[in-house]
């Protein structure tokens, strides 16, 4: 069995706001093994970015409360003091963000910003760090890196900036790379290149990747395991094949149904899941997806736990429907024919 890098147990994140307590993450567990890609999928506001940022302590604030544990190398990152956590950030766990256009500081050169990442964690001279920055830019596919290293971010295209962000994240050889919607702001052709790059670098650097996205199509490319999140919880979790060929939760069906497909007849309009995600301040009773679920029944007023209900081990879900009902309802739901009563 591969080395377990990261273990998250019962993670809860709550923000106290003027309107009330926001339960952004409400009980999330997962593990990450070296060399694997874990996809976290869900709509906006499902808690996926907060989960990722919490791993690095970027959500720490006087109005934030945490529960559970995030184990990395036998230490709980949630309880680590800021100064120690800083040594982990960027060094052992690195993160890249959604919008490469705004994620680089406009007043420093791309090279300077990579050098800053290196010198923060290592005793390297400026020139040594810069040589490594050039090498990293070459590895992420920036043409003519010894010249482009002195460019400012505005002289880079969106795709190049995301490559530079990746170079920066990889500069200290992290064990874990968290990519928070790395392709959302990019063209589709560039998206594919960036995903390919991430996958290649994961192999080259032997790190694990957490890939956060709202697009199942993106995780289908590269992920090994997938978490589907809804309202701060995991509603389904399993291997990529299990999730795509034998999805168990109606929310996963809805996500699958909302991917436009070339092998099906062209629909009048794109499918979407009806309704909007619930307010994280006033969560519905019982199953959190019940108000938007076309197949909700009496039992759903009680929240199902996340457990294995199918033959395949490691494939967990939170749905009361029987296996027979699921088989029966799945196709029509994915095709967008089922409606909320």
């Amino acid at each position: 069995m591969a080395e377990k890098l990261l273990e998250v147990n019962g993670l809860k994140v709550r923000f106290t706001t003027e309107d009330g307590v926001v339960r952004a993450v409400d009980g999330v567990d997962f593990e990450l093994e070296r060399g694997k890609v874990l996809g976290i999928v869900g709509e906006s506001g499902s808690g996926k970015s907060v989960t990722a940022m919490t791993l690095l302590g970027l959500t720490r604030d006087k109005n934030t409360r945490f529960e559970g544990e995030v184990l990395y190398r036998d230490q709980d990152l949630l309880k680590l003091p800021e100064s120690r956590l800083r040594e982990v950030r960027g060094n052992e766990i690195a993160m890249i963000f959604q919008d490469p256009m705004t994620s680089l500081n406009p007043v420093y050169t791309v090279g300077d910003q990579i050098v800053e990442a290196i010198t923060t964690h290592e005793q390297a001279s400026k020139s040594e760090a810069k040589r490594r920055a050039v090498e990293l830019l070459r590895q992420v596919g920036i043409p003519n890196p010894q010249v482009r290293v002195d460019d400012y971010p505005h002289q880079f295209s969106g795709g190049m900036r995301q490559r530079a962000m990746i170079a920066m994240a990889l500069s200290c050889n992290p064990d874990v790379l968290i990519a928070d919607e790395p392709t959302t702001a990019l063209d589709v052709t560039i998206q594919a290149q960036i995903l390919e790059l991430l996958d290649r670098l994961r192999a080259d650097f032997d790190s694990a990747v957490i890939l956060i996205t709202h697009d199942l199509g993106v995780v289908a490319e590269v992920a090994d395991d997938i978490l589907v999140m809804y309202a701060g919880r995991i509603v389904e979790r399993g291997g990529k094949r299990q999730l795509f060929y034998d999805p168990q939760h109606p929310y996963t069906w809805g996500l699958l149904g909302s991917i436009p497909r070339l092998d099906r007849p062209k629909p009048e309009k794109l499918h979407s899941i009806e309704g909007t995600p619930p307010s994280l301040i006033n969560l519905p009773e019982g199953c959190k997806f019940r108000p938007r679920c076309p197949h909700a029944f009496e039992k759903c007023s009680e929240e199902p736990e996340l457990k294995n209900r199918v033959e395949a081990p490691g494939h967990l879900d939170r749905c009361w429907l029987s296996l027979e009902d699921k088989r029966h309802l799945r196709e029509s739901t994915i095709a967008g024919e089922a409606r909320v009563a």
């Binding site: 970027l58 690195a94 994620s103 680089l104 406009p106 990442a117």
Partner: protein, 325 residues
């Protein structure tokens, strides 16, 4: 870069020309009245007035007068080489306007440079402290002080300070200016109150602007990136938050500094009897003495134009996105 500089210099000259025409129209043409009648004194004979009119050129068409006036202004720089009537002179006192402005420059520059150092330093300090402690008691306290500072009119603050600290309790000298070259200690001693008085408004204002700039910058994605890299909070604040927040402050400072240097510190100079350019402007306006008003306005415009060009250069240095390629 050279093209950029040349373009800016041509632009500066064009703006100054436009300002001089405008000022000429506003102050000399429009007010009307015959300056010759005014200069002739009480009970003049018509011959007398006619004589003055011809000597000073008031009988010529306005564009000739404009060109003549500009010539006279430049001649004023080197008074020895020109006849009495070829120099721009006050209607009232017949003094050389350019030389009068030059006389005021040491006091004005001493006041403005000192005050600018104070307001820039404390303005940035106030902004940083209140941004870092935003929402806490220290922020509220500083914000309140800043608002009080912004709200206090200079003429009121100046008079109150002078009354309590210079007249009732003689801690500071009661106005006046001592040249730096004659006695540096007295120079400093005489300037402390005016410096403080002029700086207070700007400290409050710059503090408020910087505070909000920094709070905006703290929410920028690149600040999150820097934190995710593991950079220490202090370094994130200095290298990423403050560095970007100071860029707009440079614009503000350049223009404010140019304005006070160009004679804009009228109230402070008047309240503390600093006989600088602002004081001269106030005197001239009080007496509706048009040539000095015109001279001071052009002098001020020169600094505004000069400093907006300097700000552009510094801006290009600070923000690579606006750097000319």
């Amino acid at each position: 870069m050279t093209a950029f500089i040349i373009r800016r210099i041509i632009g500066m000259v064009a703006v100054l020309f436009a300002v001089s025409v405008l000022v000429y129209v506003v102050f000399i043409l429009v007010p009307g009245g015959d300056p010759a009648e005014r200069m002739a004194g009480k009970n003049p004979t018509p011959d007398n007035i006619q004589n003055i009119r011809e000597k000073w050129g008031f009988d010529k068409p306005f564009y000739v007068q404009y060109v003549k006036m500009m010539q006279k202004a430049f001649n004023g720089l080197t008074p020895g080489q020109h006849s009495e009537y070829d120099i721009l002179r006050s209607f009232d006192t017949r003094q050389n306007v350019v030389q009068e402005i030059k006389k005021g420059i040491p006091a004005t520059f001493s006041l403005c440079i000192g005050a600018a150092v104070i307001w820039l330093f404390f303005g940035v300090l106030v902004g940083v402290i209140s941004a870092v402690t935003a929402g806490r008691a220290s922020d509220r306290l500083i914000t309140t002080f800043a608002l009080v500072g912004i709200s206090m009119p200079v003429f009121w603050l100046g008079i109150v300070l002078r009354y309590f600290l210079a007249e009732k309790n003689q801690i500071f000298p009661d106005g006046g200016y001592v040249p730096l070259t004659s006695d540096p200690w007295q120079w400093l001693y005489h300037l402390i109150l005016p410096w403080f008085c002029l700086a207070v408004l700007f400290i409050g204002f710059y503090g408020r602007v910087l505070r909000s700039n920094m709070l905006d910058a703290m929410n920028e994605d690149y600040v999150r990136t820097a934190k995710a890299k593991g950079v220490s909070a202090r370094k994130v604040l200095r290298r990423h938050v403050l560095r970007n927040s100071l860029i707009p402050i440079v614009t503000l400072f350049g223009l404010d500094f140019a304005a006070v240097l160009g004679g804009g510190a009228i109230l402070t100079e008047t309240v503390f009897d600093l006989k600088g350019v602002g004081w001269y402007a106030a005197q001239s306006v009080g007496g509706l003495d048009l040539p000095p008003i015109m001279g001071v306005t052009l002098y001020g415009a020169f600094f505004i134009v000069l400093f907006s060009a300097i700000v552009d250069f510094i801006y290009a240095y600070l923000d690579p996105r606006v750097r000319p390629t």
